[in-house]
Every structure is written in C-alpha cells, then in structure tokens.
C-alpha cells in the first residue's frame, strides 16, 4: 500500500500461501507506515493469525471460498479487515489459553495473540461469513498520517 493511499484490499484464495501472503503484505504496510520493528512484528503476526482463522477455521480450505484482506489508514489508526466465507465461530466456546487446564493445549492461542498485539480486535458475523477487524494506533512521528503532511 502506497503511503498516499487510504485503503487497499485483496481477494485471496483459501490456501496456505494466502497466510504467508497476508503476513507479507501486513509487514510491508506496517513498515511503510513507519511502525517500529516490534510493532511491525506484532501487526504481521496478528494478521497471520487472522488469516489462519479465515483459511482454516472459516473457509476450511474450500477452493470456492475467498478471503478478503483490507488495509486502511484512518486518522491515527491502521485498520485491517479480514473476511471469510465460513460458518463463523462461537467466541464463547474458545477457552482461555492462559487457564492452567489449557496451557498444554496445542491450539486456541490465535485470537489471544491478536488481542495481545493489537489495540482493538473485533470479530463479528456477516451475511456471508465472519469479519475480523484489527486496529493498531499509529504512534511516533508518523501519527496523524503522512497524507496530512504532504
């Protein structure tokens, strides 16, 4: 995403390659927006986890179902939206991965990591699947938007 653009979106297949692709795009966008290295890693990992959920748990690798990934710069926020076409998830059934009885579970940490790394994580059902919204506040010298300074 060029720094001057407000929003860019991609339609991606339900494949493992999409997960790596989404992560790479997030790294590029976060880098271009001037996030520090540790926050670039956090944003990239949150997007990767969101893409994993969309491809595996949402679309279940179905070739006829797509994942849409969008990056938007709105004021002091980077807003990332990931939509799938799956059946959705019941958040109340996702156990707390930090509970002692769940520490040795081999899955169930994706949403927890997203919430750890992003300022806002919203998950909601849509008419066609699930929408995940990840928001990271822009800090530092680029806060307020490079667009505004041009």
């Amino acid at each position: 995403m060029a720094m001057t653009e407000q929003r860019v979106s991609y339609t991606l297949d339900s494949s493992l390659e999409t997960i790596d692709n989404a992560e790479a795009k997030a790294t590029r966008v976060a880098t271009e927006l001037g996030f520090p290295d540790d926050e670039i890693m956090q944003i990239s990992m949150a997007v990767r986890e969101g893409a994993v959920n969309a491809v595996l748990h949402g679309n279940a690798y179905a070739p006829d179902k797509k994942v849409t990934l969008a990056f938007e710069r709105a004021g002091g926020d980077l807003i990332i939206t990931i939509r799938d076409q799956g059946r959705g998830m019941d958040l109340s059934k996702i156990p707390n991965p930090l509970a002692p009885e769940n520490l040795l579970k081999t899955s169930g940490r994706g949403i927890f990591l997203m919430r750890s790394f992003m300022d806002v994580v919203e998950i909601r059902p849509t008419a066609t699947g699930t929408e995940l919204k990840l928001i990271k506040h822009v800090h530092g010298p680029t806060a307020g938007g490079k667009e505004a300074s041009q």
Partner: protein, 114 residues
C-alpha cells in the same frame, strides 16, 4: 525462510538445532516429524536449540507444546535452549515459559538431564 533442523548427540542428549520459522505448514510438520523420529529411535532426552528460530506463530507454539507432551508421555524430557527475544516474549505472554524448562547455554542444558 522455511524451517531446517539438524540433530547431534552430546553426552546421551539429542540436541536439535532448529533454524527458520516454525509456522503452520511445513515448519510445524518438520518439527513434529523430527521429534517423533527421535522418540521412535529411543532418544528421549531432547533439547530444541531455537537460537536461529526467528519466528513462531500460534501453530508453531502448539507444535512445541505437542513435542513437549509427546516426549513426556513416552517417559522422556524435552527442553528448550537459546530462545530469541521474540520467541521468549511469546512464551512469556502465553505463560508457557512456566511449562517448558528453558536453558540459555548448551552445557547446562545437557547437564540438567543427569
């Protein structure tokens, strides 16, 4: 960069040198297969040297947990060595640092099995 592993023996302990990324897909599968292969050959003292692992996602974390429990269930022990800051931070926020036996030098890791 995909994941690569190489194993060596030090005083009866198997050191698995891992590099690259432990993520959903190939990286997780390589780690799983490596640990299962070692256990199948009777190598039950295992150290995963993660010095050159620069990235782990939630699937990779799950694979580390799986390796730990699989080894333990077969009467063995699996320890982690030389965590990078990124991996260390991930284990801290997921509280898995309290589960794994984490070492920061190979000699003490090997010695700790005795």
């Amino acid at each position: 960069m995909s994941m690569k592993v190489g194993s060596r023996q030090v005083d009866g302990v198997t050191i698995v040198d891992c590099s690259g990324r432990i993520t959903l897909g190939e990286g997780s599968v390589i780690l799983r297969d490596t640990v299962r292969d070692l256990l199948g050959k009777g190598n039950k003292k295992i150290v995963l040297n993660l010095q050159d692992v620069n990235y782990i996602d939630s699937s990779g974390i799950g694979e580390l947990v799986s390796a730990f429990t699989t080894t333990k269930n077969q009467g063995g022990e699996l320890k982690l060595l030389n965590l990078t800051k990124k991996v260390n931070d991930l284990l801290q926020i997921t509280k898995l640092y309290t589960v794994f036996d984490v070492k920061d030098d190979e000699a003490s890791a090997v010695k700790s099995f005795k």
